[in-house]
Each structure stands twice: as structure tokens, then as C-alpha cells.
């Protein structure tokens, strides 16, 4: 390492917590450029990552998240070279509405995992709102105080730039780098909002839904369609006076699950109670996850799901970039608003308006 003094700087979340975030550029990047940190070659990044060098991993993730084309070029080559060394991890998505206790739960589950099962843990996030809210999840190191200082953990807040699709894509690319760096457990935290949950689901092996007992949460879960993608449901805050209510909620969720068809995985989702704060039932939650992974590895669903995810991301990337190419075209951008107005005024049909814009676009591409 040429810049040993920077190791701590890029070692994870902790250093960045207090840094003011610019609007578009990744917060790490600001620091990165201010210090005139030189870019390494793709080979140097890969070598560092494969050795498990946290600083190099962190800098490579920064490139993945960067919007600068020269960073993206390096990032894509690093990802490509890490790909053969990736995939050997258990990827767990963790979701729940705000207040469900996601951060505390991840802190406790993660610490318990590292202490009792060994290995390494990377915690990533998908939060498309983080640009607006300056990092609503994973943005504050104090929320995962034990994991943040654990020598075998790596924590990154959500990428901030762009659409949900873009944010999620960057998180998925970062998973590859973390796995190549030897992180055999990946947690992906996401906010309890439909589309980011779907995006998270599309990159994990097990999707854990954290719920609370109480006011109609069960029906909320059903309504939001989220129970259909959960591989396990856990009721947090099952402690003190709340224990009975939590177990009642668990029974209600369990009953609700019977309304759904058997999941494609062939494994019925379990419902467990635990307390993140009092650290009750933590090992049971981890065992539920590992039992599930064992079962789907045996019945072939594990690989099937990963294959489907790879295909999904190929087509998602194609569709997203096709749209970007159109909607970010400077001449098209100028035409869209007036064309939309013509449609609203009944001057032109939606279809002919669309065709006019498309004809213009394809004509521009030719020249």
C-alpha cells in the first residue's frame, strides 16, 4: 500500500459519518479527490481486493459508485476480474418499515454471526431516498456501534446517485467485490418500500422481513405484497410486556402465510420472535437463515435463483440504459415537455407523440 495513512480513511463507514455530502458525487469521492488520491490500475485494485485489503476494497467500491466515466471504466474492469472469485457467500436481504429496528438488529445479528460462526461480514444498503435524506439508512455509524468497529466487518452506506435501478445495480456490483475480498456473509439492508424491497430481493439468497407486533402490521404486509417475497419473517421487540403480543402477531403472520401458494423455493417461510435490543432469540434467527440455505442448496433452488437474478440484472441493465439513452439525450429532453403539453391539449394522440419523439431520437443516433 502506497498510502498507509489512508487505510483508516477508507476502511468503512466510520470515517465518513461526519462528512458533509455533496448533492450527486459520492461522499467518499469528495474526500478522495480532495486528497488527490491517485487511481490505481485495475490489476492493483484486484490484487488488493483478493488479499482482503479493506482500503483497496473500499476505494474500488467508491469507483463503482462514482458517476465519472473514467472511474466507471476502471470499476467495470475490476468487477470483471473479481467475478471468478465471487459468489461464495450467503447473501441476506433485510427489510422492514422505519422503526422496526433494522439497524439494531443488523448490529446484533452481525456481531453474533461473526463471534459464533466466524467468517467475515459485509453490510451494504439500497436506499434510493438517501440522496434526499442524506443517508437515512446505514448513514450513521452510531446505529451499528459494535459492527462498525469489528475487525471482520465492512459497512457501506447506500450509493446515492441516480434512480432506484442505478442504486441497486451499484449495490449488486459491490457485492461481487466484497465476495472477492473474502466476505462470506453479505447483508443488504433496504427500506420498507415496495420497489427497493423488490430490487433487494433480486440480489439475495434469503430475504428477511422484520415486523413489529401490533396495529394491523400483518395486513399491511399482505397488502404490500411483501410477504410473497419474504423467505422468513421475524417479529422484533419480543421482550418484557410485549412478549405475548409478539407471539400473537407471529401466529397471525403464520396463518396469513398459509393463504399464499407454496414458494418456488419449496421451503415454507418461518415466523420467529426476537428482541434486537435485549438480544433474545438471535441465534434462532441466524439458524433459520442457515437452515434455509442448506435446504435450497440441496434442492437446487439456490443456484436456480442466482441464475435467474443474473439474467434479471442483464435485462434490467439493458432496459435502463435504453431509457437513459433516450431520456438523457439533450435534444429529446428539450422536446419532451412541449410534446407532453400537446398531448394534454388534445393536439396529438399519445401514440403519435411518442412516435414523433422516437423518430427524432433514432434520426439523431444515425448522425
Amino acid at each position: 500500500m502506497e498510502h498507509p495513512e489512508n487505510n483508516a480513511e477508507y476502511a468503512g463507514l466510520q470515517v465518513n459519518a461526519g462528512v458533509e455530502q455533496p448533492s450527486i458525487v459520492n461522499p467518499y469521492l469528495k474526500n478522495f479527490r480532495k486528497k488527490r488520491q491517485r487511481l490505481f490500475t485495475p490489476g492493483e485494485y484486484v490484487e488488493g481486493i483478493l488479499k482482503g485489503d479493506v482500503s483497496m476494497l473500499s476505494q474500488a467500491v467508491t469507483l463503482v459508485e462514482s458517476v465519472l466515466p473514467e472511474h466507471q471504466t476502471i470499476a467495470q474492469e475490476v468487477i470483471e476480474k473479481c467475478l471468478p472469485h465471487s459468489g461464495r457467500s450467503v447473501r441476506v436481504g433485510i427489510s422492514g418499515v422505519p422503526g422496526a429496528g433494522k439497524s439494531t438488529s443488523i448490529d446484533v445479528l452481525g456481531t453474533h454471526l461473526l463471534e459464533n460462526y466466524g467468517g467475515k461480514l459485509a453490510v451494504l444498503a439500497i436506499d434510493p431516498s438517501s440522496e434526499k435524506t442524506k443517508g437515512s439508512i446505514l448513514g450513521d455509524k452510531t446505529r451499528m456501534e459494535r459492527l462498525a468497529v469489528h475487525p471482520r466487518s465492512f459497512i457501506r452506506p447506500s450509493p446515492t446517485a441516480g434512480s432506484l435501478g442505478g442504486v441497486a445495480r451499484k449495490t449488486r456490483e459491490s457485492i461481487i467485490l466484497c465476495e472477492a475480498a473474502g466476505y462470506n456473509n453479505i447483508f443488504v439492508e433496504t427500506v420498507g418500500v415496495g420497489q427497493s424491497e423488490t430490487a433487494c430481493h433480486s440480489m439475495v439468497d434469503f430475504f428477511l422481513l422484520i415486523q413489529l407486533s401490533g396495529t394491523g402490521d400483518e395486513l399491511q404486509g399482505i397488502k404490500r405484497g411483501i410477504m410473497e417475497i419474504a423467505d422468513g419473517i421475524v417479529i422484533n421487540k419480543a421482550d418484557g410486556d410485549n412478549v405475548d403480543r409478539a407471539h400473537l402477531a407471529a401466529t397471525q403472520f403464520q396463518n396469513a402465510l398459509h393463504l399464499f401458494p407454496m414458494p418456488e423455493s419449496g421451503v415454507l417461510p418461518k415466523v420467529l420472535c426476537y428482541s434486537g435490543f435485549y438480544e433474545l432469540g438471535i441465534d434462532e434467527v441466524l439458524k433459520m437463515i442457515f437452515d434455509y440455505i442448506d435446504q435450497v442448496k440441496r434442492n437446487g433452488y439456490f443456484q436456480h435463483r442466482r441464475n435467474e437474478q443474473s439474467k434479471y440484472w442483464m435485462y434490467e441493465t439493458i432496459n435502463e440504459r435504453l431509457k437513459n439513452s433516450f431520456y438523457h439525450n439533450p435534444e429529446i429532453r428539450q422536446l419532451i415537455q412541449p410534446t407532453e403539453q400537446d398531448v394534454l391539449d388534445g393536439q396529438v394522440s399519445s401514440f403519435i407523440a411518442a412516435n414523433r419523439l422516437l423518430d427524432k431520437y433514432f434520426h439523431l443516433l444515425k448522425n
Copy 2:
């Protein structure tokens, strides 16, 4: 009309019911071409449509549904010229799971509407499965026996070609033609499947959900997210021994509706019981629809919703054609399968695979 003997041929559903359908070309078209029916000029179609000539309307809809470029060119010009004469109708989407009694209900509601309120009624459909099933809805004239022979009704089965987006777009274009031909009531029937219901919802002023009393249908409706887009819910088969159960179901739906936030329309959906077969409660259902339309016209939501729909269809059309241009490109088509295999084999990441295909595509467009 040059071919008076063909008037009946193209006057609606009835003639076509027994015709064998080729796989891609619209069933009407086969007949159309076999008889060497000449194409009229766009102006002639428009003149015929504005006069309310059912044969000309039917032939123009056939062009809308055709996949042949020369037909599409004429169709788009006809639509454009009809646009200023469209919009003056009440568009009602009608959905429900198979067995809910959609066809019988449409027959009864439509006949009652025409006899008691006057005007004209066009019945269209969105059924993306109709290509496979050879027209599962509106495909059989015997299912709407009174409407099919009514002088002021016009019935078309679902367009069969292409994706859901394509099918839905053609139905929406046909609405414009029907309205220009003076049909002041449009019913759009759709199957009880999530995506086609959403597509139907995006082109109607009122979305009616037909349900049955009995086994957990209420929860099914909640799960499928369909209750959130329903402007009114009706329980069919509220007759004989079933009356009490139907009213119980109505109460359950009404309670479930309270779980949702107030709809954007500002009008709480009603839940009514009726019997399509015994023609009980038919006028109440129609009154519910017309009351709703009155309220949303007064509070401005009616126009707002139509504007949003126009924008939606402009962007939908753009996105669909961007994808078609890519995925239907002959050279890209040949590359997709092997590239997908490379991704599955871990030879290349989803993202780089996507980028390679896109680079190739944009290169092809340039030349």
C-alpha cells in the same frame, strides 16, 4: 359503401365467432385479405366513422390491430383525425376472476344501459392471453347474446397480437375510433390478472371489480392489490340461497376498503350486490357508475385522470418501442441467447454483458 354485402361481415363480433384464427395476423384481417377488400383512404375511413358507419369503424379497428406496416400507417392517420372527435364518453373498465360472470354482467348492464339511458355502447377487451387461448373473453358471441344483436352496440374481442403493452395500446386506440363514431359508453372487459387489470385501469374513467361471495375472495382482492384501483366493487350472484352470503361479503369488502387511504378521486368506492343472471340490482350498479362520474367531473379528478392517462401512454409507448427496437433487432436477437449463457456460466457479469449488447446495438443503429 362500395361493398354493401360486406357490411355484416365487419359489423362486429358475431360474424367472426366461427372463423379459425391464424397465429399472428388478426382474425378479421385474414378474411379481409382473402376477399381482396380494398383499403380506403384515411379520409374515407374518418368520414365513415364520423357518420357512425359500423362497417367502416370495424375495418378501421382491424387496421389498428394489424401488424402490417402499411395498415399501421393508415391506422395512425385515422386515429389522429378522429382524435378531436373523441373523448366524449364514459369509459368503464370491468374486471373479475374467471367465473365471476363478467360476460353475463356486461350483457345485462349494457342492454339495460341502452334501453333505459339511450346512447350507444362499444364493448372492447384486453386479454393478452387471447392469442394462446384463441380468445378467452369476448370470443364467443353467445356469451353476450342480447348485446351482440343490439343495433346500438359494437363488440370487439381483444386484439391478439403481441405483448400486453401492445394489446392494451391497440385497445386504447380503438376507444378513440369508437368515440369518434358516437359511442358515448365504452366498456373495456379484462381478465382478472394483475397486469392486464392495471393496463385496463390506465384507460378508463371508472374501474368496476366483479367479485363473488364465498371463500376468502376478499383477502384475494387485497392481496392482489386490485382493491386499490377499484372505483366500485360489485358482488355477483346475489340471488336465491346466496343473498345472505353476498351481503356478508359486501360488508367484508366495505370493511377492508377502510384499511386503504382515501382514493385520489376523493370518492369512496361503493360495494353493491347484484345478480347478473336474474337481473337484480342492475340499475343500482349503473347509477353507482354515473354518480361517480358526476362527482369526479365536479371535483376535477375526471380530467386530471384522463390527462395522467395520456401522459402514461405516451411514455409507455416510448418505452415499449425502445425495447422492441433493441430486442427485435435481428443481429441482437442472435447474440442474446449466447450472451445470457455466458452470464449463467459466470464468464461475464450481467452488467458487462448488457453493455456489450448495447454497444453492438448502438453501433448497428449508426450504420
